[in-house]
């Protein structure tokens, strides 16, 4: 009976069989290696680590938020071709969840600290037979604003690059050492600059500062404001609610440069505006380090 089962299976499976191609590992040949990244900090790290021998693919247009960017089929197809795809993890870049990417090329750079991801608020709902609750909010994803986490992400990227391109391992590790030094310095200066904020809550325009808040011991309640939006009565009412819930707040953190009118309006309610950009997308000038340094400098200026 067993033999019959085996034979009938054989007959069925061989219906479409004839000759076949030999399978070999894909050969990169003379093609320049490519590394794709889902946000600018990872693209910057990749460039620092492997820019000498690899092309860094970062497809997000300058005016888009990489977290919510929706790539076209053609853009996904280009990313699929990359030898390595650096992902942020923590449900960053929503398109990744619905895109088809090669599993062996993907590197979740925040995997080493995934157990410490922070939950983001979102509407939770349940339905279906099992009626399990689930949230569409996911995790807070601006992981790199904790600069120790940024260093861990850079190290994860470097290890993956060194594994994928063993001929360049030594150079990548040397570059990593320099990058980690820079990030360590930045972290030290950030800790020092934020020390003076610890006394009172700091209100943020957008809920992207959760890891920054945790790393530097701050209290950062947030709104859902954009720098260029109209500060309507409704928006100001939301601000008042947060001010009431967080007495003593005197500093307002913006993701990007706000309109001068916004600065004035906030000053009238006792808030001083400061720009601390998460630098999720490629800046119009400078690079990741310089943008973070600018934010630190703004915070230091407050103290002075």
């Amino acid at each position: 009976m067993r033999a019959f089962h085996v034979l009938t299976s054989c007959a069925a499976l061989l219906v479409s069989c004839g000759e076949k191609k030999k399978s070999t590992e894909s050969d990169r040949g003379d093609r320049k290696p490519t590394i794709a990244a889902v946000n600018y900090p990872l693209a910057y790290f990749a460039d620092r680590l492997a820019g000498d021998f690899a092309t860094i693919v970062f497809e997000v247009p300058p005016d888009e938020d990489p977290a919510f960017w929706k790539p076209t089929d053609e853009q996904i197809a280009r990313i699929q071709q990359a030898d390595l795809i650096l992902l942020n993890g923590a449900s960053y870049a929503k398109w990744v969840a619905t895109a088809s990417l090669p599993s062996n090329s993907r590197v979740v750079t925040s995997e080493s600290f995934e157990t410490t991801y922070l939950k983001a608020e979102g509407v939770t709902h349940a339905h279906g037979k099992k009626a399990e609750d689930h949230s569409h909010g996911g995790f807070a994803f601006t992981t790199w604003l904790d600069l120790k986490q940024a260093a861990a992400q850079a190290a994860a990227a470097a290890n993956a690059i060194a594994r994928e391109f063993p001929d360049h391992k030594e150079a990548v590790m040397d570059n990593l050492a320099m990058l980690l030094n820079d990030l360590k310095d930045l972290d030290r200066v950030m800790a020092s600059a934020t020390a003076m904020l610890k006394g009172a809550p700091v209100i943020a325009s957008h809920p992207v500062y959760q890891y920054w808040e945790r790393a530097y011991g701050l209290v950062v309640p947030s709104l859902l404001w954009e720098p260029e939006m109209d500060l309507t009565e409704e928006a100001m009412a939301d601000l008042r609610k947060i001010q009431d819930a967080n007495p003593g707040a005197a500093i307002f953190i913006w993701e990007g440069e706000p309109l001068p009118a916004h600065i004035e309006k906030l000053r009238s309610v006792g808030l001083t505006s400061v720009v601390v950009s998460p630098c999720a997308n490629r800046p119009s000038s400078g690079d990741f380090l310089s943008v973070i340094k600018r934010g630190i400098a703004s915070l230091q200026a407050l103290a002075e």
């Binding site: 000759e19 619905t98 099992k130």
Partner: protein, 394 residues
Amino acid sequence: MSSGSIVYLSWKHLSYRPFQTLTLVAAVALTFYLPFALGVFTTEITSTLQDRARSTPLLVGPKGSSIDLTLNSLYFTPQELPPLPHSAFTRLAKHRFGTTIPIHARFRAGDAPIIGTSLDYFRHRQLEVMDGRMITRLGDCVIGAQLANEKDLKPGDKITSSPGDAFDLAGVYPLRMRITGVLAANRTPDDDAVFVDLKTAWIIEGLAHGHQDLADPAAASAVRKREGNVIQANASVVEFNEVTEPNMASFHFHGNADHYPLSAAMLIPANGKSRTLALAHYQAETATEQIVIPVDAVANLTETLFATHTMVRAAIRLFGLASFGLVVLVFLLSFRLREREMLTYAKIGARCLTIVVLKSAEVAIVLFAGIVIALGSLLATKALAAELLPILLH
């Protein structure tokens, strides 16, 4: 009498009775052809099975029959074993033994297997898109060349998964998938399959779905209960049976991803050491999965095939012997009927030996023609075996 005259006379006699001659030639040809042709097809089947198995160095799957695991993962036969949890796949990937490729082969679209996998599968099998482009998102699929040809499908068309159980009214909705490309033929089971991203396979499984936004006032009738940020929906919530650009963001997963099912994981070890380590890893008594060397599993399978082949070949040889006996009988009877003709030859001066040579020449011509036809057919069979096999098995 010269040898030319003998051949001429024999030929004249054979061509005088063409039906009898052709029957004899065909009987001789078949007697020689069949056992050897069976050998050619068996070799082809074995070679095809082994080629696919050789290109799949290792398989990791749930414990059970290694042949079932191999057939399901390599040839997409229906899944007999329990599923492999996704956590086992991620654990395997974290060991970094080499390239790991998920295989989810549980569902079908009509007769075509739907294979949920990652893009690494296409790279490993060197499957290229002949028409259209590769899958890029949830709900996309690429199809094999044979399937496209049979069903007249092309990029831009839709193909729908078959519901697992037609009588399970509360079961999984069929998913309409967008065909983005047709793969180049490689004469393997890939030619008949529908390939989707693993996440799409999980949508078909019912582990992920998209539905109307419950926070939207338009979906108010579908809301059963709302407590703060928690919304519970009733059965009237509209679920999408196709992933489109506008509704894609609404697709989300339920439950623990560690428990999501796979059929198996293909492992292409980075080197010999990784292969040994991987094999050793799954020999531990605590291992909850098994590792299979597909070549060995297929070798077991072909052993059974060979045993059957030997029996069939013995039967064909007996049949051949009987056919040959009949041919001899036909010749003997024919010679008996032609006794007067032979006497005439003797009377006009032919020696006894000449008559024997004359009879032998007729037999030789028939045997020679039969053997030549058998050899020609065998050569043609050998050359066309790969093409003939699917036709014969269909």
